[in-house]
């Protein structure tokens, strides 16, 4: 997929689905078959990172890498770097972020029980 097609929602979806890191790889600036799509990717990446930081996600978890089809070595090194960086940061476990573990179910049951026990008010 062209890097210009990478919508920030793809990255959010990966992270929200449990990914600990995301790499966006694209052709070098100036070498775009579609003229300027990788510049769009560059700007989207900047704005995406700005937002991720605000959401408390370490910027190193999402990395943008320019690598052409002839640069296998470069891509491999970038992947190794991403894996090392993410390993250092540890698991993200994003879906656990909205677990409510503090007495939610008990509280829900308590409401139903309390309503059952409440005195009937004569009409």
């Amino acid at each position: 997929m062209c890097s210009g097609r990478v919508d920030p929602s793809f990255v959010f979806k990966a992270l929200a689905g449990g990914a600990d890191g995301v790499m966006i790889a694209g052709c070098h600036p100036g070498e775009c078959h579609y003229i300027e799509q990788n510049y769009k990717a560059m700007r989207r990446y900047a704005i995406l990172k700005h937002s991720l930081t605000a959401m408390g996600i370490e910027p190193d978890r999402v990395q943008l890498v320019w690598a052409s089809a002839a640069e296998g070595q470069r891509l491999a090194e970038a992947i190794t770097k991403l894996v090392d960086d993410v390993r250092e940061l540890g698991p993200l476990e994003w879906p656990a972020n909205w677990d409510e573990d503090d007495g939610r179910l008990e509280a829900l049951e308590a409401i139903a029980k309390e309503h059952e026990e409440a005195m009937e008010v004569p009409s």
Binding site: P8, H50, N97, R104, A107, L108
Partner: protein, 326 residues
Amino acid sequence: MSDKPKGKLAVYWAASCGGCDISTLAIDEKILNVAEAFDIVLWPCAADGKVRDIEKMDDQSIDVCLFNGGIRTSEQEYMAQLLRRKSKVLVAFGSCACEGCIPGLGNMDTRKQVFDTVYKEGSATVPENPQDVRPQPETEVPEGTLHLPVYYDTLKTLDQTVAVDYYLPGCPPEAENIWKAIVAIVEGKLPPAGSVLGVNTTVCDECKRTRTEKKIKKFYRTWEIIPDEETCLLEQGILCCGIATRAGCGALCPQVNSPCIGCHGANDGVTDFGARMMSALASVIDSDDPEEIAQIIEDGIPDPVGSFYRFSLAASLLRRKKKVST
């Protein structure tokens, strides 16, 4: 409307400001037509009706429930479950129920952070609290145990809590759109379940400003610039969310020289409103230099979550800021 047998209507509010109820009353005298078509079995803001009476009703015996507000406490979750069970059609009414809205921005904090702000740091509601008293879900008194609702860390939207049949967008939904929705319900002319009751196009389509080519070198915050009244606000460097926001409001805000802030949420098929905004803005920033791009963004958009997710944080793919145990 009078030739049909009367249906049953419930209107409820959870984590919301009450604006949805006011907007419902803003259909003016047509509220009498609503009362003609429906028995209002519950509407805490405007009519009598007891939760206990709802509990005693048969399941599916309420024809329509208009539910506004997000789900922030156990009591609100209980009411969402109860009204879902008792209602044939449940409408997520307004931005809070649809996507969390302003109360959903509380997802940038945790319960502890919110409680610290309110009960410790001196707020308008609790100016002094030297003993650091906090609300407890359970309190023992001689007569028995008293319960307060549990306040959740994360506000959820209505459809993250129970199944929802229809969505009515807006903060609040405009009175004329509320009326259109009510008429559609009464006449049985509803779209397929799961639909948003509204149009499927962007605010830009309803905005009369002149658009040419968007090339932005600098974003201005609203207080930094007096925009000209003819040109597209985004082209003038003002972060206007009209490009990503569902229409239906008549472009009310841009009409009065104020940028769209996105209260109608995204159109069909968009999973994340903020991502849509980011994607669109990235296309119009006029620079190919990574450092300059970063500068334009950092200077011009100091609060990306407040700018891109003002109404939709709770419904976004990430839903909240990373929870840090404190």
